[in-house]
Symmetry: D2
Subunit: 370 residues, 4 copies
């Protein structure tokens, strides 16, 4: 039985002075495996990752560990407690509207001078010094005078500081109503086959503020910068956003499957000794981020969603019917909405009621087998 | 093919001066049947009633009508457009918190003097004069100086004014995540068997502000008041709140079934000539309102809902598991919640995340076959 | 220097398991004065009461106390942290819409049997036994199985349980944009002159769920019930809602004045020994609750508020101009709104943007000098 | 008396099918002056601009106009009607959190090829062809299949399409609680002296999604691109964000002054013939955008704001006191917050209740006389 330690880290204070804390669980390996960091619930309504961390802990406590593993449920103590009606309004800071998962720290500016200073250093030194640099920079950000750090950045960068210690970072999210899918950096495509996830989104090396990007982009950029100088080094860190399904839902059985999917990937990465976690023999489909189609409601109305999540639809298929009761006599009350391209249905909006221009669906287009 | 007419009634104005309007559809019968009023979507997220009105209109246009029928979708133009994240925050006025379905007008004070003045009048005269009184009173309420009428009451009483013209009033709602059920006044219990709804809640003669109460209570109270004077008159009006299932969802196929259920009831009430709508042969269970158990979350946490909607559970059955990841080491992270009585599961909360004291479930207890 | 003790009472838990706690401060007197309970910030945006409690503590620590005094800032740990944009959305439970100050426990049902059982008891016994009954009943409410107590009631009744120990209860609130005013039970009218508050609202003996009513109604009802039996006993408890001005604002200087106003009242009630707090020589105006006029926006639009808070206006005075820019050509863009009666302006809405029917103002009408 | 025409443009539809429309007012000049576009209320709570447009129209109808002038109040029909409690939650799309004033269209990609194709064209042709290009591009954006355009972009780009027709663009905003200030592109610094606004923020040529940037950046970039080719052309378009003061407030008297300030600038730009609008002789202070300091709350708590809006404060001055009542005994309940640099106070947060990291103030630092 492995020892699990628990720590509560403080990431803020609210108006009545109560501290905002996040529980951090840690298991220690023999040091031979890659360090692993897994967090869940940065978006308030996306709670299933907490159940996955529960199931991971249940499994991990009896494994022989090569890796140090850090697990952080309840990553956002504001977001997961922000109610508006029955709904958990936890996607963005309710004061500013800023997406909680777009506030991580960008390290792009560090690359050039680092490469310049370590152009001939041995790989081990590059890796350890660059990691130390990332850790130091995020720590320095947090050590600024308190008046320079806003609420969301303090939460995000505190977590990022922890994540930079790791070689593997998994950020557990969900869609609104969604099929499982994986955000995977293009260079790590091979790893996607070890998750039991049918839909893989291949993302480029562009920092847009999310946790996965915050932790893999610096290493990818580093590798690219060395390549520009004529030297090849690996990208030492992999980071993924794992989209577990739908928000506002805890399903412990499904969480066990999701935990096994993650364990399969970690096993492939040699996080364990003698473990038998293997990926399931499923067909995986991939799509480039540029081909990930957001389909906005072409009119306001009330929507019946007809495209089944995960289904492969053909151009011309009906994906939704939009009811417009006030047109019952004058025009037509029921509008069939079709898609003009072949696609895989990944997610749809959580409510039947939409404005013109509300994001109705997201689809994989130009998808291919991985 | 029957003629359907459409009217837009104005029930308010918003800050940029745009009018709030509601579409009203009307079909005319031969005058021999009871007048019918059906509305939907007073609570913003409860949209399925609009689809039911769509399916009703599709059927009604080809029936031979004995009854005049008025149908009002989109009853609350503020509520159905009030978004907060993806969710439609339409259960209460976002400014005041007042439930939109608790703002109808109470006529209790009218009964005593009316009975006194018409103690020996013939039934026809009682019925027509009392109806005229209800219509006049609601109209008078709306005709007050505008500064005396708040936003929600203007919407509610405008609709109530229309509903008082009818002998049968159906207010189409949904629960959060819910099995179908029917709010039925105790005196109209016999009518409940004509709807295809398995769960019937029998409600007493107490005005709590809802549309069904606003329209049946005066007539029930009238009947009671005559009885107290030694004269028996019928309760001439029936009103029901029809709970169609879950919120935030349009399902046109299910809506067709719900429309048929309503048509079966209306057929029993002789709204049609030569129609063949019949109730389905299902077992119906009833529960007194006092036995309708609200089960609040005994702790804060993240909930897996284990009681299947509509299922008959036994005392001691697990109805939920509450995950408390911050207790993973110190206490126990997974709490099994049981119910201490036999019950039918009617609805549960829409989100996995709950505070201590959030309404987790509602159950029929002490239920019986109807 | 008096000893001040502090306790944190838990009133709930949120979704990530964090406890909701409220700080309770206590000072002990020599036992000769009435027991005092003061709370603040039950409505989240109404924060000035916390500053008043701060200033009270600063004064109280050097007074010679006859009374035991309990002070509770931050009474609602959910409400005061519920943000929606910049605004603190703390007037009602964001899940249900229920006003946090309408969830206290009603004891009306206890009166009849208590009077019956203690009809001839000495006053001291009546007082102590009835107090014990109120305390026991609220404690019993809280001791129910957790699944029977909703979020707001647990907070409210926990506080009410504390308040029932006291002879004097002050619940510190604010209006939206507001002049100072005092909710005072009719029987305690004489006490209103000891507060430095110009506007006094006299409220009847009807329980509507608020803290002041929850604590004075039982004692008033008790006195009335004895009177109906031919025996006169005093109303032993006084409770007031003190409306300190506008929400969303901390003003420490004003808070000192408000603290002195409260100390003047408490001094009159002999809470202190040798203190010199005296009411200010101001004219006080009173108004019956039935004459407290809510003036709703007669149209949607954007409002310039012209009635100065606390001002005495004449029938026909312009109280607001409502801008309707979309009518600039077609009708008239600027509507002057007048009041048709003399009145004192007590409060107005916090935003310029209103729907038709939004509560624009509240006025004292038929007011009189106290 | 000039003719004013009115048009309603549709920018969307909501869930119950009601159209979202914006009123557009137009006056025609003799064609000799620059074309002017003025809009207000893109952020829902920032309503004072509507009153300024009202006062502008009152003045403009009697002026001799050289310029065509387009005025658009109520620019955002979703934002200005989105209530959450009393507050107008109109800064961001309530579904997505996206700031309504960050969704305008970026034209940066057009510059290079345009300059290449028109490197030797006469200035008149460059100006008219580039304007036509901007108009065409925004129109093309709107003409896409409806499913490609989200709610906020449809509103923003429809307005931008109108604004591109003009040589002068004014976007009327307010801060939360704020002194008047002006966002001015660096190249147009000289124009800032014609507004009666003491505080001027000089912004660089970087597109961040706002209306002012969307309309001046292309022209500035064009001028820069020609300069890089060795040719000097003017920047033909000026655009400003005018921050009128505090949100949630209509003040018609102040609006008249703000209208005069704008008329003074327009007069300087020769929009009128024979008009006498002149700027007031006030000292104007400027600050580079990089020196515009956001000061975040260093702790959670309840804030008394001590820095007067518009005041020049010295390093070490107290700008706020933060009350932490739960620390009354254990630590210190009142924390004095100071600023470590000289500054002008421009705006502060709208609520006393803040989380650690909430934006408390914005200050001009390193400011200078304009």
């Amino acid at each position: 039985m492995n020892t699990i330690t628990q720590e509560h880290i403080q990431v803020g204070e609210i108006a009545n002075g109560l501290p905002l804390t996040i529980p951090v669980y840690r298991l220690q390996g023999n040091g031979s495996g890659p360090k692993v960091y897994i967090q869940a619930n940065m978006h308030g309504a996306e709670v299933q990752g907490n159940a996955v961390i529960y199931q991971l802990l249940e499994q991990l406590k009896t494994q022989t560990l090569a890796s140090d593993i850090t697990l952080v449920p309840y990553a956002n103590p504001i977001g997961c407690n922000q109610k508006s009606g029955e709904f958990t309004l936890g996607r963005f800071d309710p004061i500013t509207g800023t997406n909680w998962n777009r506030m991580y720290h960008d390290h792009s500016k560090l690359i050039e001078s680092f490469v310049h200073e370590h152009i001939d250093a041995p790989e081990d030194e590059i890796k350890s010094k660059f990691r130390a640099l990332l850790v130091d920079q995020t720590q320095a950000f947090l050590d600024q005078p308190a008046y320079r750090v806003n609420t969301g950045k303090r939460i995000a960068v505190t977590l990022q500081r922890l994540a930079h210690e790791a070689d593997i970072v998994l950020d557990l999210h969900t869609g609104p109503i969604s099929a499982k899918h994986l955000y995977c950096p293009e260079y790590a495509k091979a790893s996607a086959s070890y998750f039991d996830i049918e839909h893989v989104l291949l993302i480029p090396n562009e920092f847009d503020g999310a946790m996965d990007e915050a932790t893999f982009c610096p290493w990818w950029q580093l590798s690219e910068a060395y390549k520009a100088q004529g030297r090849n080094i690996p990208v030492w860190v992999e980071a993924f956003t794992v989209e577990l399904g739908s928000q506002e839902k805890i399903d412990l059985t499904e969480a066990k499957l999701d935990a096994e999917s993650i364990l399969s990937y970690l096993n492939h990465k040699q996080a364990f000794i003698g473990a038998e976690f293997e990926p399931k023999p499923i067909t995986r489909y991939a799509c480039m981020l540029d081909d990930y189609l957001a389909f906005y409601a072409p009119m306001g109305g009330m929507v019946e969603y007809n495209a089944v999540l995960g289904s492969h639809i053909k151009a011309g298929d009906t994906i939704a019917k939009i009811l417009r009761m006030e047109q019952y006599l004058s025009e037509k009350p029921l509008h069939e909405i079709t898609l003009d391209t072949d696609a895989i249905t990944i997610l749809h909006f959580a409510s039947a009621s939409v404005n013109q221009g509300t994001e109705l669906y997201k689809f994989f287009t130009n998808y291919f087998e991985l």
